[in-house]
Amino acid sequence: MLANLRQLASPKNFYQFAGTIYPWILFLAVGTLCFGLVWGLLYSPPDYQQGETVRIMYLHVPMAIMSMAAYMVMAGASAVGLVWHLKTAHIVARSCAPIGAMFTLVTLVTGALWGKPMWGTWWQWDARLTSELILLFLYLGYIGLYQAIDVVETAERACALLALVGVVNIPIIHFSVEWWHTLHQGPTISRLNPTIDASLMGPLYLMILAHWMIFMAYVLMHSRTAILARERKTQWVKSLV
């Protein structure tokens, strides 16, 4: 099992593996996204209190979940890369950063668009908003550090360490801001009995799934190009391109 994994982890095998599965994931992503958007935007009932603006949720919540999930995947891959010296894991970790930052940014923007009609303000210094903003800075710092270091191997390992330091800090940051001020609603769907109506939950879950698929497809595609760039001097890449 472990030997098989190690074999898959060689850049060449991962390139081919990713190449075979990513079209399927992309297909699933586009499919679930279209279906979820149509269901959520056209065929789900408006909220009794929020009216039509509740539909922003179908983008906002999946994006927010993914902004944190992407960081966890990035940190996990970084740890694997540091411990087992796997080039591919570093490449995967690095591929999570741009899309993670994008998810975070879209979360903030959609949140602001929702906040204006609902809370009457674009921005509040509220716990969740603030920790999401800090998460964006962590992503940008990661990307900045990667681009500042010229030697790729060093950049990868330095960034992996930064991602791990960040992962220790995120809960601390999160809870400290939580206790500081709060306006954002508490967890709704991650509880045992969700406090959201079933008619809104269906499209929401579908959209969350769609966003996972988008994330995976993006990371696979990004990793493939990163592997090609990284291994450009090897024989197999030369014969490929």
């Binding site: 900045g144 500042a148 270091i149 330095a158 330091v165 940051i173 400290s176 801001v177």
Partner: protein, 231 residues
């Protein structure tokens, strides 16, 4: 005590002494962050207006944000010179555990940059019309909070020390990590100025310091090893 432990403690003390001696020889480098801190605090009343009531409310925030900027502006010095003159290589090759040496460096850095802020802060606090009861809490929060800044900063410095222009990037990397310290430190001062108990905040600050002193030396040590590969 084994020979190795004795040697480790010896090199810890030697490194601490060396850094303090170096700082005393370049005394202007100790004074500069203090001046920076004072100037930054002084700019706020000019910016928001001299309203005494408003200043009293935001005094804790001003002082702490200025302290954060002042300490992160000199963070780079922690390893920069050692990196450039090659002393860092010796630290990395030394048989003494690197995290221990990192603690010595952080301690020296705090004694020369963080601790002076603690002494000057009460005066600036009074200038900002901070209530008299809140001043001891301001001092305590700085006393407990600024070492955390040095320790967490060491990781950032370790990651960026090999870069020619790492200054701004370093600030970008470490400032988000300082958010919890800022929240609880200013929370303590604000609680005290409203006559509430501030010990809860202080204890959380203290636990952050414990976490920082125990975890970050290892992270900073591996960061330094990664950076040393760069050249």
């Amino acid at each position: 005590m084994s020979v190795k432990t004795a040697q480790s403690i010896e090199s810890f003390v030697a490194l601490l002494k060396r850094d303090l001696l170096l700082a005393s020889r370049h005394f202007s480098e100790v004074v500069q962050p203090l001046l920076f801190f004072t100037m930054a605090v002084m700019l706020f009343p000019l910016g928001v207006g001299p309203d005494a009531e408003l200043l009293r409310i935001i005094a804790a925030g001003i002082l702490w944000v200025a302290a954060l900027f002042a300490s992160s502006s000199v963070l780079d010095k922690m390893f920069r010179e050692d990196f450039e003159d090659g002393a860092l290589e010796y630290l990395l090759l030394s048989p003494t555990p690197l995290p221990l040496l990192v603690i010595a460096k952080c301690l020296a850095h705090w004694l020369t940059t963080g601790l002076p802020l603690v002494f000057i802060a009460p005066l600036l606090g009074l200038l900002l019309n901070l209530s008299f009861e809140a001043v001891p809490l301001l001092v305590l929060s700085l006393l407990v909070g600024t070492p955390t800044i040095s320790f967490v900063g060491a990781v950032g410095v370790g990651l960026t020390v090999g870069l020619r222009r790492g200054g701004v990037l370093l600030t970008l990397l470490v400032l988000p990590l300082y958010v919890p310290v800022l929240i609880f430190a200013t929370g303590a001062v604000q609680a005290a100025s409203q006559g509430a108990h501030a010990y809860g905040h202080l204890l959380i600050l203290l636990s952050m310091l414990v976490l920082a002193t125990t975890l970050t030396p290892f992270a900073a040590a591996s960061a330094l090893r990664i950076s040393a590969e760069m050249n």
